[in-house]
């Protein structure tokens, strides 16, 4: 299940993890919303990276690696971060709440929904960390 970030295998691994992790399934049972990640280039990433996850009631219904942002014009949340910061989150070196509160991770979408579902957000990050073996 574990893989190198960023890669399509990593995203598929995360999909499988989200669909098999009982803790995530319980915590996220009321979550309804898809996520579009926009990773801005720096370090070893030379061009903008996108990936998409459709999360619904504790399950991941769909993932898409490197979609064009236009193919998902109105996701519930668009999350933008530099490659360095997203890597730091995945390696556990940057607390996801710190990333949000210091705008290292920019959020577009309902902040109300996000604040009400912080446990889900944190557990999603835990799952993402657990499938990450290495950062390119």
């Amino acid at each position: 299940m574990a893989a190198i970030f960023p890669s399509e295998e990593w995203l598929q691994g995360l999909e499988r993890k989200l669909n098999s992790d009982s803790r995530y399934s319980e915590i996220a049972k009321n979550w309804e919303g898809d996520l579009l990640f926009l990773i801005e280039p720096d370090g070893n990433l030379n061009e903008r990276l996108t990936f998409y996850l459709d999360l619904w009631h504790g399950q991941c219904r769909k993932v898409k690696y490197k979609p064009t942002p236009e193919s998902y014009p109105s996701p519930a949340f668009t999350l933008t971060a530099s490659y360095k910061n997203i890597a730091a989150i995945l390696l556990g070196k940057l607390n996801p709440m710190t990333a949000m509160m210091t705008s290292k991770l920019k959020v577009k979408g309902s902040m109300g929904y996000m604040m009400r579902n912080v446990p889900t957000v944190l557990d999603f990050v835990r799952c993402a960390q657990e499938v990450t073996t290495e950062i390119l």
């Binding site: 607390n95 710190t98 509160m101 210091t102 991770l105 920019k106 902040m111 109300g112 009400r116």
Partner: protein, 605 residues
């Protein structure tokens, strides 16, 4: 800087006071400069409710300049409940209006023979009778004063009936329910028979180098608008954090005895947004607009409550009725009372009633059942009118508890009631509350934000686990210095600005050439000065403490079982501060290093 206007209400005499240039540079403005100005007049013997007691309304060098959240001012003096340094900052539009009238502050002493209000129209000051306004609530008073002076664009700050009756946590209000809530400055104003101060000005607000300042201001506001935290505050108000706070076990429940509130969704900022919110409101020049405008059954638009009011009237009293909380918050506002101290003292009454320490005999027949909204409302009215048991409660939780030989049950520090960010959930607040110069205050260092994850790496304020202990002491001290800068500017703590940009703004506004470190030194200087003021008024290390409730673990919630180790945290904090471990006074060396040699001589001989 513009001068202050000194007004002696006993004699009616006024004079302009020019601030020494060195003080301007060393302290900038706001609460820091106020501390320097009032340093020699705040003595242990001074009765804060006497005519001799000063009451200083201070703006900052960026007040009214439309910089990032800089429409604020601060009211300073000696706290009637604490006997210590008191400051209470407030938004709205009054501060900018005062600067436009040509003054950077009003320094009020004396006591009028009967109720009066002041009308400052540019440089013309009138002292007018307020006999007919005495007893009127805060909103009505503002309206009546504006009608009488015939100047619609004037701004009026007022006290309500609670200030007149010297409720020791009475507040000062201006505009749309903006409050200088903490430390009882409304009682000091009431003790002077001063009901209101109306101001109107037409001058351009001074900025040292506007050409430099203007683009920096635009850039700061642009960045602030995009900030995630600002988005949460705009969308949900300050109560947007309620769910997260509860999740971590940082929201005290049932008078600080529990750390979990099942119905938090019913009282959260998100709930308010989804149900009763009709608009948002902002202080002068603010791009965040955390203020709430709500409608209830009567369809009238009214102020919606912020986090502290919601938790105070909500989980603290086991009440999950958001509409009732709106009403109760508004009732406090109309009386002119701080909602933190009011709800904390009501919580103590419920707690003592449950323990059998007070009975129906003490309450004159009122049964105090948790969550009973009618009873809560009854108690607010009794406090505001100083009737029945409300007269005792109006003295604050420390004195109320002491009256029943249960002072240790009161959740307060040095007479100021603890706010609703529990150190068992966010341990840095243990030091924030224990060492704040004005009692248990969450605004001198809102360190709970850092414990939630909001670091300031550029300032060396890094992340420690929310349950870390002594190892975060130096971090807390640095955060206090940072926030002291905010309180001198006077800037809202919700402005998540880049320190490098902030120092450029200060330099342009004040004609300085500071670095970020210089800016923090100014914060440290004022923090130590306020400490010295308190030391002179009798505060020692034994007063740096937490109430019993906060040193017992929560039985439930996200922080169950954790307790802050305050003794070790304090020792590390004193070390980081350069304070004497035995007495708690800033060392002679530290004071000299900060350019406070005269203070060092006062403290150490």
């Amino acid at each position: 800087m513009q001068p202050l206007l000194k007004i002696d209400l006993t004699t009616g005499k006024t004079e302009e006071y020019r601030i020494p240039e060195k003080w301007e540079k060393d302290f900038l403005g706001g609460a820091s400069l106020a501390a320097r100005i009032l340093y020699s007049s705040l003595t242990r013997e001074l009765d804060p409710l006497s005519p001799e007691a000063p009451l200083l309304f201070m703006t900052g060098p960026m007040t009214g300049t439309s910089g990032p959240t800089t429409g604020r001012f601060v009211v300073c003096g000696k706290g009637p409940a604490t006997g210590l340094w008191a400051e209470s900052n407030i938004g709205g539009f009054w501060g900018p209006e005062l600067r436009a009238a040509g003054y950077d502050g009003l320094w009020i002493t004396g006591k009028a023979e009967g109720p009066v209000y002041l009308w400052l129209n540019g440089d013309r000051l009138e002292v007018r009778s307020a006999v007919h306004l005495w007893g009127k609530n805060t909103y009505t008073t503002q309206e009546r004063v504006k009608e009488e002076i015939g100047e619609k664009s004037a701004r009026v700050c007022v006290i309500g009936p609670a200030g007149e009756k010297q409720v020791l946590f009475a507040s000062i209000m201006c505009d749309h329910g903006r409050m200088a809530g903490r430390t009882g400055m409304g009682a000091v104003m009431g003790a002077k028979n001063l009901k209101a101060i109306a101001v109107h000005g037409t001058n351009q607000i001074p900025v040292f180098d506007l050409a430099k300042y203007a683009p920096l201001r635009s850039e700061s506001n642009r960045v602030l608008k995009q900030d995630n935290e600002a988005k949460v505050l705009r969308e949900l108000g300050t109560a947007g954090a309620a769910n997260y706070s509860e999740y971590m076990g940082a929201m005290p429940v049932k008078y600080y005895t529990h750390g979990s509130f099942e119905n938090v969704d019913n009282i959260s900022g998100a709930k308010m947004t989804e149900t009763i919110l009709t608009a948002r409101s902002a202080c002068q020049g603010c791009v965040i607009a955390c203020g709430r405008v709500v409608k209830l059954g009567d369809k009238a638009k009214r102020k919606g409550p912020e986090y502290e009011t919601i938790i105070g009237f909500g989980p603290n009293l086991l009440n999950d009725n958001l509409e009732a909380i709106v009403d109760l918050g508004e009732l406090c506002d109309r009386y002119g009372m701080d909602t933190i101290s009011t709800t904390n003292t009501i919580g103590l009454a419920f707690h003592l009633f449950e323990k059998g320490i007070i009975t129906k005999e003490d309450t004159r027949g009122i049964v105090l059942n948790w969550g009973d909204v009618d009873t809560i409302e009854q108690l607010v009215n009794l406090i505001g009118r100083r009737e029945g048991i409300g007269d005792l409660m109006a003295k604050g939780s420390r004195r109320f508890g002491a009256h029943f030989n249960a002072e240790e049950e009161a959740v307060q520090v040095n007479g100021l009631e603890v706010a609703y960010h529990d150190p068992r959930g966010v341990s840095g607040m243990a030091l924030s509350y224990a060492t704040s110069p004005r009692g248990a205050c969450h605004n001198q260092s809102d360190y709970f934000f850092v414990d939630w994850g909001h670091t300031h790496e550029d300032l060396g304020i890094t992340y420690f686990d929310r349950h870390a202990q002594a190892e975060k002491a130096a971090n807390v001290a640095r955060h206090q210095d940072w926030r002291t800068v905010f309180n001198s500017i006077v800037m809202c703590i919700f402005a998540n600005t880049d320190p490098a940009l902030q120092v450029k703004l200060i330099n342009a506004a004040c004609g300085l050439d500071w670095t970020v470190e210089d800016m923090l030194n100014a914060g440290e200087r004022a923090w130590n000065l306020k400490r010295a003021i308190n030391n002179r008024m009798g505060l020692t290390r034994v007063d740096d403490k937490l109430p019993k409730a906060l040193l017992e673990p929560f039985p439930d919630g996200g922080s169950a079982g954790f307790m802050p180790d305050l003794a070790n945290m304090l020792s590390a904090y004193y070390e980081a501060r350069g304070w004497d471990l035995e007495t708690g006074k800033p060392s002679r060396e530290k004071l000299s290093q900060l350019g406070l040699e005269d203070v060092a001589i006062n403290l150490w001989g």
